[in-house]
Symmetry: C2
């Protein structure tokens, strides 16, 4: 780990790098939030079943507020923040009222320019959370949106609920000159990726990484040898991917077939072939995926 890894960390992944100021001072004050909404330059993006409305050049369409009047929305707009163009909101609509026949969310994300993908990710994460969190987990009553979507409030028990951000460790396990990739049976044919799993209560990122490697592949990492590489927001539905590299003590694998169909060691040459699309059987995840970035950095000896 050296300055090269730091340089790599400063190249943001897809979904990172939002140009918006989330405007905490604005959203937490109802009057300020209304004033932002009422500005003539306020705009609104639209999501339908997780897909963004885009124009022909794959920009998110920024609708004027007047255009949104008849939308069949799934709930109130959320406030995303502001940039030089003005305040930006997002609205999710029911499928019937779709203004766009956009691609599926992953495909859409891959087609969006960098800043647009980050804005889309924010809206998508919050809507995904809202969809499954309309009731109070503490008392069972319906909750209502507050602070422009930054929280939901229960008028019954007066508890506030904040959007979930679920930390996930995704790690390139390494041993000597090879790295470990696995595949799940549900994935498209040929795709091999880094192992990953949700962080559980009361463990560090490094402990979660070691636990997942042991559970899924039967390999033991030295916790002190695990290194943080970078993070990426992942809005399907609302995870925070934490990329790590994890040297392990030995190459023997014991695969948990409940989690993985297969796992195996790949050489640098294998990885280069996968990147080039010339490998016998294995294909890398697309460039929006942390797994690919980790493999790229490893094959270049940066991590």
């Amino acid at each position: 780990m050296n300055d090269r890894v730091h340089l790599a960390q400063s190249l943001p992944m897809t979904f990172a790098g939002s140009p918006l100021d989330r405007g905490d001072l604005i959203r937490r004050d109802a009057t300020s939030l209304q004033a932002a909404f009422d500005q003539p330059n306020a705009r609104c993006i639209q999501l339908c079943e997780g897909r963004p409305a885009m124009d022909e050049s794959h920009q998110l369409i920024r609708f004027k507020m007047a255009d949104t009047a008849n939308w069949d929305a799934t709930g109130p707009m959320i406030y995303l923040g502001s940039d030089q163009a003005g305040p930006l909101f997002a609205c999710e609509i029911h499928a019937d009222g779709a203004k766009s026949d956009a691609l599926d969310p992953r495909q859409a994300a891959m087609n969006l320019p960098h800043f647009e993908a980050a804005i889309f990710a924010q809206a998508k994460s919050v809507f995904a959370w809202r969809e499954k969190n309309r009731f109070c987990a503490n008392c069972g009553q319906q909750t209502r949106q507050s602070a422009g979507g930054a929280k939901r409030v229960c008028d019954g028990c007066e508890i506030e609920h904040f959007p979930r951000v679920d930390p996930v460790v995704i790690m390139l396990a390494t041993h000597e000159d090879k790295c470990l990739l696995g595949r799940q049976s549900s994935w498209p044919e040929g795709i091999w990726s880094a192992l990953a799993g949700f962080v559980e209560p009361a463990e560090t990122l490094e402990e979660a990484c070691a636990r997942e490697l042991l559970e899924e592949a039967g390999v033991r990492a030295d916790i002190a040898g695990i290194r943080y590489v970078m993070t990426q927001p992942w809005p399907m539905p609302h995870s925070l991917m934490v990329g790590l590299v994890a040297p392990v003590l030995g190459p023997e694998l014991t695969i948990d077939t409940h989690e993985l169909e297969q796992a195996r060691w790949f050489s640098r040459e294998d990885i280069r072939d996968m990147m080039a699309g010339t490998h016998d059987f294995a294909v890398m995840p697309p460039s929006i995926a942390m797994a690919r970035r980790l493999a790229e950095l490893w094959v270049e000896d940066v991590i």
Copy 2:
């Protein structure tokens, strides 16, 4: 950042370093879980209002299962995992049935030996989550515990709910030879600490760090200059503290008095005095706090 920071990262914080194998294969199979419970060497720790039952030497009391029969529990036991001594469960009881007049949770944590604090943290996080998540956020029905507490299941809409782990960035902002500490009016007199805040949907750890510094103190961090230091589980209630160091572009402060009472720059000499308890007005948080660890590493020029 060099090998010294890596050495520092390998010295785990309080609440990290659990010796238990969480036994994913056991907990996800009801028969295996029952078999673990039925083992003669199965034991159970007890929490009451967030406080652990401890013996005179500040070890968690490991009750035999027979001893737990009449406990006034707030819900089913949870399975924490296993170590060489056998399977370990945890039970939370109502205040009336308290078996111990233990200290408040923070105080208890400070008195627990390292491994014991990590076990306590796991139980405390899950119970804190369960207390506020007995209903389905998707449909409002009551949920039930499953997989030894690793999830809750809604029989109404058939959704599974997993314990929350809320990532929080806690960062030592630095400028030239000074570091930034703030204080909240609710804190004990004299305590100054690193700034911190919850990660929001669709931002990286580094973006969350930069946003919080700008929101709370009006200082701008260069995102590419922010460095990860280490993580710590924080079971009040179920956060994952991510320690960062963040060089900022200028020293001028604009304090958000909604969040902070004060913020100011401290020299290395100030920090040393605070550590020694000889500073004029400022006191460091206790050794269990990430803020203190970050300040220690910074004053020793490790980060």
